[in-house]
Amino acid sequence: MNELLSTEEKRAVIELLYQLADDDFIISYRGSEWLGLAPHIEEDVAFSSISQDTMGHAAMYYQLLEELGEKDRDYLSHARKSNERKNAVLLELVNGEGHYLHEPRYDWAFTVVRHYYYSQAKKVKIESLKQSSYPPLAAAAVKISMELHYHLMHWTVWFTQLLNAGGEAKKRMLKAIAKVEAEFEDVLSLGPLSKEIVKAQLIEEESRLLLSFHANINAVFNDLSIPYKGEFTSLSGRGRFGEHTEDLSEALNTLGEVYHSDPGAVW
């Protein structure tokens, strides 16, 4: 398959794969920081299962990159520097105040909204990727969509339940929605090679993805009787262009701590 790609197509596939891999990798990392801190034990089990699936998706994408001649998948996930990462900035932001081992005061409303919006966006992309001209990516999308179905269901329940509860919960959720929307432009962006990516028919163009996203999420807001503005910005940076926050650098230091202690070693 690879030998059928032109140089330009190959560059586009690699670019897109980095976005997909880095997105799932960093949000799974943020999820893993929640371990043992979720609102109840049942949620701890469910959430860690979702984070684990998501790490598995990242591993599949990194594997495809390795097969395209990029470095090995552990290097790609653990050793690349902040400015080499292509994940959306929204997904790298900390879960809230504190450290995962010390005085964590994580924000469950932000986590629910971020995961809900991200799962919706991921679903739109995965549906489109099923028709990708690059068969290994289309095959990966089919596998991922089965697990994603449950993730989206899970976060939809939380999203609607907390908004329906009214009172403090609703207030926190609306605040989180504003925070997520302020960063969300990045998530559905295809980055600097978007033209090449679309031309190679790897995935639909940004505007089409965005339209599907709006349609899906608008229906949910309608049911909740909450107005949906759907205006997104990239407040803290455009991750697809390698712009990232301090939050990512700190995360990379933590998640690579053992790896970096001896990158040549087999762990």
Partner: protein, 325 residues
């Protein structure tokens, strides 16, 4: 007249206990809704709530290593393992909830008991896990030790616990394999990696001996051992389990070129038992009273998340009142 009634009810209770013990002797399983003596109920509540909360607190030392695991494979492995442990905690809390329901208690009470120190968790989970070697060692030897104590209760007279243990033990086997794989990779690795495992064994050895509890009541003052044996909840004694652990793991540890930090450790061919240095049982008592090196920090994590998510719990309960969902 009054004393006659009391006598009558005492006789009735005695009859109940006799027929209950006959069921136990016959190897029958007791179920949650069956009548049971208070002593039986209380020992189960103590045992199973401690087991359940230990699974949950036990996720915390490994939690430290989940984000830091050094490869995608290890990240996936340790994520799966810790998720299982939380699942075990959930399963066992549900078994406990059925036992405390007649006493008018709920899961909230279990959590309160944990925070107040009335409900203790396993000594090993009070200890530090400062290196990746510890993450491997916990899976290999702590889960290995857990398999030994838990398989000992697979035929427990209390049906819901026996069934939960069956599922748990099946998963524990994978945990031990996961831990062993980490340790084997380190053992075949660089000098620094090998040193990392030896360091972990030195740090954890005494805690592993303590894991099985004192050999007799004298060491710490009290023991549930006799009661659990009487009701056929467990069969082997603490010391027998510890000896099983040595038999299984001492040769494996030595075969990796590692040493055991106890020069007196050896198998006595005549007595047919392992001779070893006793851990400091006074220290053990301190540790399980939440005075271990990490006791307070880990309790703080649980407590903080409990407080921090108060609004979520109250939103969920108001939601279920509003629309039954």
């Amino acid at each position: 007249m009054v004393s006659k009634i009391i006598n009558h009810s005492i006789n009735k209770d005695e009859e109940k206990i006799l027929s209950f013990m006959a069921r136990i002797e016959a190897g029958e399983k007791i179920e949650a809704d069956d009548w049971m003596p208070d002593e039986y109920r209380n020992v189960l509540i103590k045992l199973i709530s401690m087991h359940g909360i230990s699974e949950i607190m036990g996720a915390l030392p490994e939690k430290e290593w989940v984000p830091k695991a050094p490869s995608l494979k290890r990240k996936l492995g340790i994520m799966a393992k810790v998720q299982d442990e939380m699942g075990h905690g959930q399963l066992l809390l549900r078994v406990t909830e059925d036992l405390i329901k007649p006493l008018g208690k709920t899961r909230e009470d279990i959590m309160e008991d944990l925070f107040s120190g009335d409900l203790k968790f396993h000594n090993v989970f009070h200890m530090e896990a400062p290196t990746w070697g510890d993450a491997g060692l916990i899976g290999w030897l702590v889960d290995g030790a857990a398999i030994i104590t838990q398989t000992n209760m697979l035929s427990a007279s209390y049906g819901p616990y026996a069934r939960a243990l069956k599922r748990i033990c099946a998963e524990e086997v994978f945990h031990a394999q996961h831990g062993e794989a980490i340790i084997l990779a380190l053992a075949e690795g660089t000098e620094a990696q090998k040193a990392m495992i030896q360091d972990s064994i030195n740090r954890w050895w005494e805690s592993l001996l303590m894991f099985f509890g004192p050999g007799d009541a004298k060491a710490v003052g009290t023991s549930k051992q006799d009661i659990t044996a009487k009701y056929k909840i467990r069969s082997k004694s603490n010391e027998e389990l510890r000896q099983d652990f040595f038999t299984k793991y001492v040769p494996r540890i030595l075969s990796l070129g590692l040493t055991i930090p106890d020069l007196t450790m050896h198998f006595d061919d005549q007595k047919k038992e392992w001779i070893y240095r006793q851990p400091d049982w006074n220290r053990f008592k301190e540790i399980v009273r939440n005075k271990g090196p990490k006791s307070q920090e880990r309790l703080r994590l649980r407590k903080l998340s409990y407080e921090n998510n108060e609004w979520v719990r109250s939103a969920l309960s108001s939601g279920s009142e509003n629309e039954a969902g």
